[in-house]
């Protein structure tokens, strides 16, 4: 290139790099140090080594509950979402059967795709408020109105500790499915049509076509979906904060690490302790991402 490359390069990078370092890199770096102090905002925090982590893992019920909930989320959210989305995407792309040898989607595929994706553009915080009304524990709730009409006892979706977490998972699935329908549809449309045709000629049923053709060839996309949903399972803050009773209740039965970080930092001013939770969350997320990429890479199909 011509003269004046460096002034140009520096000029273009100065602002973005400065903003990024000040607001992203510096806080991340500080978090690791802060996690080793007992800082509570007023006096300068004292360095306490791994004491925060010791307390976290031996003496913090809320944190353990949150960990368990992430475990449940980590299994349930990807599994349920992917199964539903796969089925819907299969119906929308191949479910119409063969129109004289070519696989098509069912009637109304375009409409369904638009509708399914819709929740994706709505804010989770707003959905939390919306679902409070849907889940209301008496006949004025949208679901319980139907249940009581059928002559059954209303269900305390959010106030019953045993099902509160599942009610929240249901909202997350409700929102996420459409995204993965679109994602899987894109993957399915990349599968060459003649593979289906050959399978049809060999007398494959729809079922075996799905398991022997679609699923293996969609493996890379599924892997992406799994990692995305798994990372989402470590968040869930906004929905828990806006939807659950007492922000993580009843009795801590829906709390997540993000919720505990927020509470410890901004309600109790335990900044060092909250940072330690952040560090724990970071290692959990990273471990999950590394593990799932490792496990799934081996099995991908060469095309």
């Amino acid at each position: 290139m011509r003269h004046g490359k460096y002034p140009f390069v520096i000029g273009f990078l100065a602002a973005p790099v400065t903003i990024y370092v000040v607001f992203v890199i510096a806080p991340y770096a500080q978090a690791f140090y802060m996690a080793l102090t007992n800082w509570r905002g007023l006096s300068p925090g004292k360095f306490v080594g791994l004491e925060n982590f010791q307390r976290l893992f031996t003496n913090d019920d809320a944190f353990w509950k949150a960990l368990q909930h992430h475990g449940i989320l980590l299994l349930a959210l990807p599994l349920i979402t992917i199964i539903i989305a796969l089925f819907l995407a299969f119906m929308l792309n191949v479910g119409g059967g063969s129109q004289k040898g070519i696989m098509t989607g069912v009637w109304g595929s375009k409409f369904y795709r638009v509708v399914f994706f819709l929740p994706q553009v709505l804010a989770v915080a707003i959905l939390g408020v919306l679902f409070q009304a849907i889940y209301r524990p008496d006949g004025s709730g949208m679901i319980n109105s139907l249940i009581t009409k059928a002559g059954l006892e209303p269900i305390g979706f959010l106030i019953e500790p045993k099902i509160a977490l599942w009610s929240i998972i249901a909202v997350l699935v409700w929102q996420a499915v459409g995204f993965y329908v679109v994602l899987f549809s894109a993957g399915m449309s990349n599968i060459p049509k003649d593979i289906y045709e050959a399978a049809m000629l060999d007398g494959a049923t729809r079922m075996s076509m799905f398991f022997r053709v679609t699923l293996p060839l969609l493996w890379d996309t599924l892997q992406v979906a799994w990692v995305y949903l798994g990372i989402a399972a470590f968040d869930a803050f906004a929905i828990v904060q806006t939807l659950s009773v007492d922000q993580g209740g009843p009795d801590g039965s829906t709390t997540v690490i993000g919720m505990e970080i927020y509470r410890n930092a901004f309600t109790y001013s335990k900044y060092g302790y909250a940072s330690a939770m952040g560090v724990a969350l970071f290692f959990l997320t990273i471990t999950f991402a590394a593990l799932s990429l490792r496990v799934s890479r081996r099995e991908s199909v060469e095309m």
């Binding site: 290139m1 011509r2 140009f8 390069v9 273009f12 990078l13 602002a15 973005p16 790099v17 903003i19 990024y20 000040v22 607001f23 992203v24 510096a26 806080p27 978090a31 802060m34 819907l88 119906m91 479910g95 129109q99 004289k100 040898g101 070519i102 109304g108 409409f111 369904y112 509708v115 399914f116 819709l118 804010a123 989770v124 915080a125 939390g128 919306l130 409070q132 009304a133 849907i134 004025s140 109105s145 995204f179 679109v182 994602l183 049509k193 049809m200 007398g203 729809r206 979906a225 906004a238 904060q241 806006t242 993000g258 970080i261 927020y262 930092a265 900044y271 940072s275 970071f282 990273i286």
Partner: protein, 298 residues
């Protein structure tokens, strides 16, 4: 995603009888499931819309009755007394500036990193990309103090800068790949004609990268519009209520609506928050779908 509809001459499987029966059962079940899922998406939204016209008595009565009258005063109350109008405009203001800033700064950084070789290029690139691996919660506490020490707590400038900063990793990652894929010949021709580096970027490369820029703009607008944690942490303190963005305002209304027992107003507020998004989505659904999934498909 186009579905090939042209008829092919080949006839299908060996036992058409068996296949047809199997298709019918699966298609029947499949159709039903598609319809049920669509209903599960639409019903709550329509229900909310209807509830925005109901009185408190109607809301606490049977959930599946129509509103007795078109109570538009629910909407007026939500707009003015519950400040939904103001929260809405706040959100528009913040997201307009932060997305514009993200796109400008992100495109500048991505362009330089993708098309110029200089010492430290890779370091800066990986510095940006590594941001994708960190959960925001890890930074939350220190970030709060960084913003406070800069005197930007409870200010739009602080929130906008933070939005930009946290949108940069993905924006730079995506756009750098995009700028790399653009042909060299046009850039060389422009340089021969005496275009400066800056002009080359704004007048040649930016227009060429339009489709990528649009995808990421949509991605950022929706992500920043729906952001909840960052404004919750950064817009607090004295007089913060006036500055709240829409997600914060709505989340708070649900608590205060409980105190004021104004449920009609709550549903009107919810509808106001949801309806514009549905309208925008209905118009741009193709671009929005590809914009939001662009990260995953890459």
């Amino acid at each position: 995603m186009a579905i090939d509809t042209k008829p092919a001459s080949k006839s299908a499987a060996p036992s058409p009888e068996k296949t047809r029966r199997e298709v019918n059962i699966l298609a029947g079940f499949g159709h039903a499931f598609l319809a049920v899922w669509a209903l599960l998406i639409i019903a709550p939204l329509i229900w909310t819309f209807l509830a925005s016209f109901k009185s408190n008595e109607e809301i606490f009565g049977d959930a599946w009755t129509m509103p007795g009258a078109l109570r538009l005063d629910n909407w007026t109350r939500a707009w003015s007394e519950a400040h939904v109008g103001q929260y809405f405009l706040n959100s528009v203001f913040v997201v307009a500036l932060s997305t514009a800033g993200t796109m400008l700064l992100g495109a500048m950084a991505a362009y330089v990193l993708a098309r110029y070789s200089f010492w430290g290029n890779r370091i800066i690139y990986y510095l940006f990309v590594s941001g994708l691996a960190f959960p925001v919660f890890l930074a939350l506490v220190p970030l709060f103090f960084v913003v406070r020490n800069l005197g930007l707590l409870n200010s739009y400038l602080g929130l906008i800068l933070v939005y930009i900063a946290y949108s940069l990793p993905f924006t730079v990652f995506f756009l750098a790949a995009f700028f790399k894929s653009l042909p060299n010949s046009v850039a060389e021709a422009a340089t021969m004609d005496g275009a400066s580096h800056t002009r080359l970027f704004f007048q040649v490369m930016m227009p060429m990268a339009r489709s990528g820029l649009i995808s990421i703009t949509i991605f950022n607008v929706i992500g920043q519009w729906n952001q909840y944690l960052l404004p919750l942490a950064l817009l607090q303190g004295e007089g913060a209520e006036d500055k709240w963005v829409l997600t914060q305002g709505i989340a708070n209304i649900s608590t205060s609506a409980g105190f004021d027992a104004d449920w009609g107003g709550l549903f009107a507020a919810l509808t106001m928050a949801i309806l514009p998004m549905i309208v925008i989505y209905a118009i741009f659904q193709r671009q929005i779908q590809s914009g939001l999934t662009s990260g995953a498909v890459k």
